[in-house]
């Protein structure tokens, strides 16, 4: 049985009110150590106010090969963007 520590993905909230953003990954034996390691590895210059860690094997991701079927359909739906509609300037921003 390997004693290699599992991989964790690290998410940092940069400042109050913002979402956590993925910043990178690290190895740690458990969640508590992963948070401590993340603090040392990713917030040495005061980059964050909150840390989330998730063991990498728990992350499900879309596959790059599926890019077409996943995202192409929204390209033809230009009307989802507000700029699709010509609204006269006289009526104010909308």
């Amino acid at each position: 049985m390997s004693n290699e520590w599992p991989l964790w993905e690290v998410f940092i909230r940069g400042q109050h009110g913002m979402s956590h953003r993925h910043v990178g990954s690290l190895h740690a034996p458990d969640a508590q150590m992963a948070v401590k390691n993340a603090r040392d590895v990713y917030t040495r210059r005061n980059e964050g106010v909150s840390i989330w860690v998730v063991e990498a094997r728990h992350i499900a991701a879309s596959s790059p090969e599926e890019k077409g079927p996943l995202y192409d359909p929204s390209q033809s739906k230009v009307y989802r963007h507000p700029t699709f509609f010509d609204i006269p300037e006289d009526v104010g921003s909308m």
Partner: protein
Amino acid sequence: MYAQLIKTARSGIKAPEDMSPDERAFQDRIDRGEKIEPQDWMPDDYRATLIRQIGQHAHSEVVGQLPEGNWITRAPTLERKAILLAKVQDEAGHGLYLYSAAETLGESRDELIRLLHEGRMKYSSIFNYPTLNWADIGAVGWLVDGAAIVNQVALQRTSYGPYSRAMVRICKEESFHARQGYSAIMAMAFGTPEQKRMAQDAVNRLWFPAIMMFGPSDGESVHSEQSMAWKIKVKSNDELRQQFVDQTIPQIEYLGLDLPDPGIRWNEKRGHYDFSDPDWSEFFNVIKGNGPCNVDRMQNRVKAWEDGAWVRDGLMAHARKKSAAPAAAE
């Protein structure tokens, strides 16, 4: 938008000297403009009030699909149909963002939906009015989503982080909703005399229900004080309503339509439009369940939930079977 008459669990605000150290520290954070996040300590009443408000907001997004969905199959052109479909799809998405935000407070989505279906949680009064014809669909996008935007732009600054971030995302998408509505109503107002009459009729019928969306007047709104202190609400009902009226009247005038309220006139001294109060007895009556479409809306919601049960259950059973399979094979 879409949260009206949210009861805070307590009335009045605690004086700083009556607060526990935790409560004082919490209030200080709010006053400094910090966001509260799910793992942070928060007063029970703050949590309960937010669950009610975000839950009601989520329900409004979901129930709000019904009056518009009513016209998807009867849109006048394929383009308008695709646009309306995209808008209604957005509303479903907004409901999902908001239920997720409520769930960070420890309430489950299924429980919130159960409370809605049992009539123990509300949704915005506006969705209990019918959409009688295509002009109503234009007017709903323009006026109802327009009112929602005014409320939601303010709520981007609400103190609870997940709610605030959901609002930011929703506001980005709402602009499309208002503009597609105005574009549809422009087509009618500048169309044939009969189309213009329909546009006028829609504005006349929806004006007062739209300005009711902001909830009762500040004097009547007994639960606002604590919500404002906690920055769950950041602007008062009357402030938001005035803002909506001020921005909407030039839009009505541009269409060449008559103003829907004889009381509307520019007040030079205030720098705002004066307007008549809506009939608040109608508002309370609709909230109580006696609006034109309350029964119909809830029947459709409950039916959709019940008709979908076999899909939800089936997919869950499949997922359980799949996750159990490797263990069984070992």
